[in-house]
Structure formats: C-alpha cells, structure tokens
C-alpha cells in the first residue's frame, strides 16, 4: 500500500467533513488543474477554533490531510493553529508518499487561509464584508522536476527549466518548446 495505516484510516473515516453556513472564516487552496482542492470553514470563539469543517476534492492523501488538520486544530488558539505546518501534518499521518508531499499536503495552508480570512474580516468589520481569502490558488509545480513554482515565475528554481503557460490548455510547459508537454498543442514562439 502506498499509504500508511493512519492515512487510510482518516481517508475512510474523515473527521469534520462539511460546510459551516455562517462561518467566521473561509479558506480555499489548490485547484482541480493541480489535482487537489480544499475548502476550510472555521468558527472562532474567544480567539479559539471552536469548530472546523472542510470539503476536499482530491486523492486519498488530500482527504486524509484535511481530516488530520481539522482534528489537530480544533480547540486551539488562532496563533497555535497558525503554527501547524504541512510538514507536521504529514508527520502526524505517519508520512506521505514523496510525490504527494507538496500537491496533496495543503491542509495547513487551507486552514491558515481561513484564519487569515477571519482576521481580515474582523479588521474590516465596521466597513464591509470581505470575500473568502484564497491563497495558493496560483501555486503550481514544475512539469519537469515537480518543484514548486511561485506565482508568475518564469523558470523553475529547482531544475532551472524555463517555463510558460500553454495558451491552449493552461498548464505549465517548457518555454520555447514547440509543443506543450501536456496537451500537445504547438506553441508559437513569442
């Protein structure tokens, strides 16, 4: 089995699945293009996470990670919850397959986005309601070495390949290659 027993246990019986209608904060990370997408809803009382619910579109690891994060964070203060990292979540789960470590392991990011959303909303409470925060939505990974690509960077820090977005399918491919490595469309040189 590619997954630890703990991962499979959370995958089969995920904790805290759902939506909080009147959430104090909402955070969403990932997108279906990269494979996984997570939405976290939080209820805050006296600076503590009173309730957490999540929804996840993704693989077994993504679902287990979301469940684990929610379990780790419930009852914690916001500052404590902000200290939970993707790495500690993976550790708690007894490890994750190497190729799933970045892509599916975004649970802490989603939770942090929800907390940031809550803080932002509270800061502007008197003015207007802010929309749900979104972080990491633009984050993608190098199609060659799988290293993370930040925002609009045009080359991969990890393997130094120049990359660009394929105008046809929107995924990342090698810059100045004649064809998109993902959809095969021919790419006109700029």
């Amino acid at each position: 089995m590619i997954y630890s027993e703990k991962v499979m246990e959370h995958f089969q019986n995920p904790r805290n699945v759902g939506v909080i209608k009147e959430a104090d904060g909402v955070g969403q990370v990932g997108n279906p293009v990269c494979g996984d997408m997570m939405t976290f809803y939080i209820k805050v009382k006296d600076n503590r996470l009173e309730d957490i619910k999540f929804q996840t579109f993704g693989c077994g690891a993504a679902i287990a990670v979301s469940s684990m994060v929610s379990e780790m964070a419930i009852g914690k203060t916001l500052d404590e919850a902000m200290k939970i990292t993707n790495e500690t979540v993976a550790e708690e789960l007894g490890g994750l397959p190497k190729n799933k470590l970045h892509c599916s392991n975004l649970g802490a990011d989603a939770l942090h986005a929800a907390i940031e959303d809550f803080r932002k909303k509270r800061a502007v409470t008197e003015k207007e309601e802010g929309a749900g925060a979104s972080s990491g939505a633009e984050k993608c990974y190098c199609p060659y070495c799988d290293g993370p690509i930040e925002g609009l960077e045009e080359y991969c820090q990890s393997c130094q390949v120049e990359i660009e977005e394929c105008p046809h399918c929107g995924t990342l491919t090698k810059k100045a290659g004649d064809k998109c490595i993902n959809c095969g469309a021919e790419i006109e040189p700029m």
Binding site: M8, F11, Q12, P14, V17, G18, V19, Q28, P32, V33, C34, G35, D36, M37, M38, T39, F54, Q55, T56, F57, G58, C59, G60, A61, A62, I63, N99, K100, C103, S104, Y141, P143, D146, C169, G170, T171, D178, K179, N182, C183, G184, E186
Partner: protein, 393 residues
C-alpha cells in the same frame, strides 16, 4: 472478501495453460537457445515455435517477429530504430497526441539526434483523422506512429486508412497494438503497417514477454548491440520461458478470440449502459462503438480518480484511472486532455476493463458498490457543493 478484477489494461491474469507451458523452461529446460548442445537446441526449438505462433496471430511470418521485454521496449525500438535507420532520408516523425508515453518520449528523445516531431490531434472520441496524418507528413518525414487501440479510452483507430495515407506518401508506419493484439483481430497485412508492437501481459501471457513485428525490408537500428540474438537486432540471452508463454497465449488467442470478444463485449455494454443511469454527471470516454470489447471508461464529475480507486479496492474491485493523482508524475492524462476534456473532469477518470473470467455478477456487484462511493465523495467535494449551489439559483 470477493475480488472483482477489472484492470485488464494494467495486466491480464495469466492463463493456466500458459503457466504450464512455461514451467519446464523455468525448471529442467534451462538451455540457452544459442548453444549447440541438446539443451540449447531444445530451448531454441521451443522459442521458434512461439515465434511462429505470434506471427500467425497477427498474420506475419516468423522471421518478422522480434521478441522484446515489454511493449514499451517494442515501441522504443520501432520509433527510434526506424527513424534513426532512415536518418539520411529525413529528420521528422509524426505521432498522434494520444500515444503511449513510450512512443511520445521516444519521439521527444529523437530531438537529441536532430529530429523534430508533429503531434496529430484527435477528436473528442480520441479518433485520429487520416487526413490530419496526411497533412502532418512532410518530405522530411521518415516514420509515422499511430496506435491501434488506446488503453485509457478504448478507442480503436482507423489504422488501415492511416497506413494507406502513409504508404501513398512513401513513409513507413508503426502501430502500438499492445492494447489490441489478442483482444481484437489484428492482421498486419490488412492493416498495411510496417511495424507493430504487442505485449503478452495484455492477452493472458506473462509480463516481460513482448514483440515487435518488423515487415521484411524495413530498416531498423538495434537499441541493444552485442549479440546475434533476434537476427542481430536485439542482443541479450532470450527470456525463453517468457517467450514460450507468449507463444502459448498467442495460440490460445488464435482459436479463442471470437468467443473472448463476445463474452467481454456483452459485459462492457451492460456496464456502459447502466453506469450513467445510476450515477449523475458521468461521461463515457472514447468512442461508443469503435472501442475495445473489454473496455469501459468514464469520467465522473466532481470527484477524483484515486479516491474512487481506493474506495473500490476496499470493496474488492480493482480498476484504474488516468487522474493526475494516480499517476506518479501527478499530471492529468494527456489522452483525456487531447480529447478536449477539461482538467477537473479528467481528474475523475476511471477505467473498467474486463478479463476472461469476468462474470455478469461481477458487473452487478460493481454497479452495486459504485454509486454510494461517488455519493460519499461528492458529499465532501467543494466542487460538487459549488455546483449544487449554482444549479439552485
């Protein structure tokens, strides 16, 4: 627990008769076919018998069959070997956008030798238009490679027409027939191809046993130098047991193919008809008619393939998926994307492929356990929640 194996495209079970034929060559019949002594000659004879059977299965003569260790190797051998042997004639190859990675990567790796390649697109059913192949051929083109059947979406390509276009242009054509041979009738003469890859683990033979058909007179550069085996085209001591097993699998396919096809076809149609009625927002991928008889593939919206596979496995069902999360590279299937399926939908890819032993009860069991799995995963899918919210507006 009951196991229902619906992953033909990964590997078929091995026919018991194939195992029986192989066993002596793993035990007492250990000779090297290149040796002059009786042990060697015994192995050689068995190997040549297998070569003739494989040839018979696809309408080739035995000296046109070259054994390899996998379908991927056969594809590498054909694409690189034929292109490089014709290097002085040109430096361009044409492949379809839905080829197996072993063909696509071989074409890419030819770039190191000064080649370029053109990817021929497919329609939404995964079909290649022979006219597109014609347009892609340039005067520098030295090889066209288009698969016979696609293992991810089951589509069977109009290969005879594609080969005709290539022949008219004087360009040799290779076909990756790994998913097809032993499962549908394949005849190299009727198809008009110059090279064809096949693999034993796709028709009840052992893994590690495959072959490339190379039409007499087609030039090809060996990938493995250093010996006289396989007429000097592939060095290395032969995998005698595997080859003998491949031969037996071919023999079984020659006589049993019509019945094999009829049986799986019924089950396939039952599944294709029933599944979209039981689960909403399910799309059949590939062509409804022009498809492998044992192959039913779908995209299920709002859920991800690996999560479905894990749940199915817990219920005893083995299937496969082309979702990004299932692949080690974590990229969505290039086949589905080339067919114009969007990334999110491609994540919900599922392939059910029947084998000889699959029964009606197996399909009923799948139809029983599958809908609750999708329902449960959709309940936790933010995409589904969003969709429901939108549709209520």
């Amino acid at each position: 627990m009951k196991r229902v194996y619906l992953d033909h495209i990964a590997a078929t079970p091995i026919e018991p008769r194939v195992v029986e034929t192989m066993l002596p060559f793993l035990r007492e019949k250990h000779g090297n076919p290149q040796s002059l002594h009786s042990e060697g000659q015994e192995a050689l004879e068995a190997m040549e018998e297998a070569r003739a059977k494989v040839g018979e299965l696809i309408g080739a003569s035995n000296e046109e069959i070259f054994f390899t260790a996998s379908g991927s190797e056969a594809n590498n051998f054909a694409v690189k070997g034929i292109a490089l042997a014709r290097r002085e004639k040109g430096n361009h190859v044409v492949v379809s956008a839905v080829e197996h990675q072993s063909v696509l990567s071989s074409a890419r790796s030819l770039e190191k030798f000064g080649f370029s390649s053109t990817l021929v697109p497919v329609d939404r059913h995964g079909l290649v238009d022979p006219e597109d192949v014609k347009r892609a051929i340039k005067k520098e083109t030295v090889l066209v490679s288009v698969m016979l059947a696609n293992s991810e979406v089951g589509t069977v390509e109009p290969l005879a027409e594609i080969a005709r276009v290539c022949r008219d242009a004087g360009v040799p054509v290779h076909t990756d027939a790994v998913a097809a041979v032993g499962n549908i009738p394949v005849d190299v003469g009727a198809l008009g191809v110059d090279a064809l890859s096949l693999a034993g683990d796709q028709f009840y033979g052992p893994k590690g046993s495959a072959a490339l058909f190379i039409r007499k007179g087609t030039r090809i550069l060996p990938l493995v130098d250093g010996g006289i085996q396989e007429a000097g085209r592939r060095a290395g001591t032969e995998n005698v047991a595997g080859i003998v097993g491949l031969g037996k699998a071919a023999e079984i396919a020659i006589s049993g193919l019509p019945e094999r096809m009829m049986r799986t076809e019924q089950l396939r149609d039952r599944l294709i008809d029933a599944l979209p009625r039981l689960v909403d927002h399910v799309l059949l991928t590939g062509h409804r008619e022009k498809r492998l008889p044992h192959h039913a593939s779908f995209c299920v919206r709002f859920v991800e393939g690996e999560a479905m596979l894990l749940n199915l496995d817990m219920k005893g069902v083995a299937a496969s998926s082309g979702s990004a999360c299932t692949s080690r590279a974590l990229r969505a299937s290039h086949v589905l994307l080339a067919m114009g399926i969007d990334h999110a939908l491609a994540q919900g890819s599922l392939v059910f492929s029947m084998v000889d032993g699959t029964t009606e009860e197996d399909i009923d069991y799948l139809l029983d356990v599958f809908p609750p799995i999708v329902e449960r995963l959709r309940k936790m899918s933010p995409l589904y929640t969003e969709f429901m919210k939108e549709s209520r507006k």
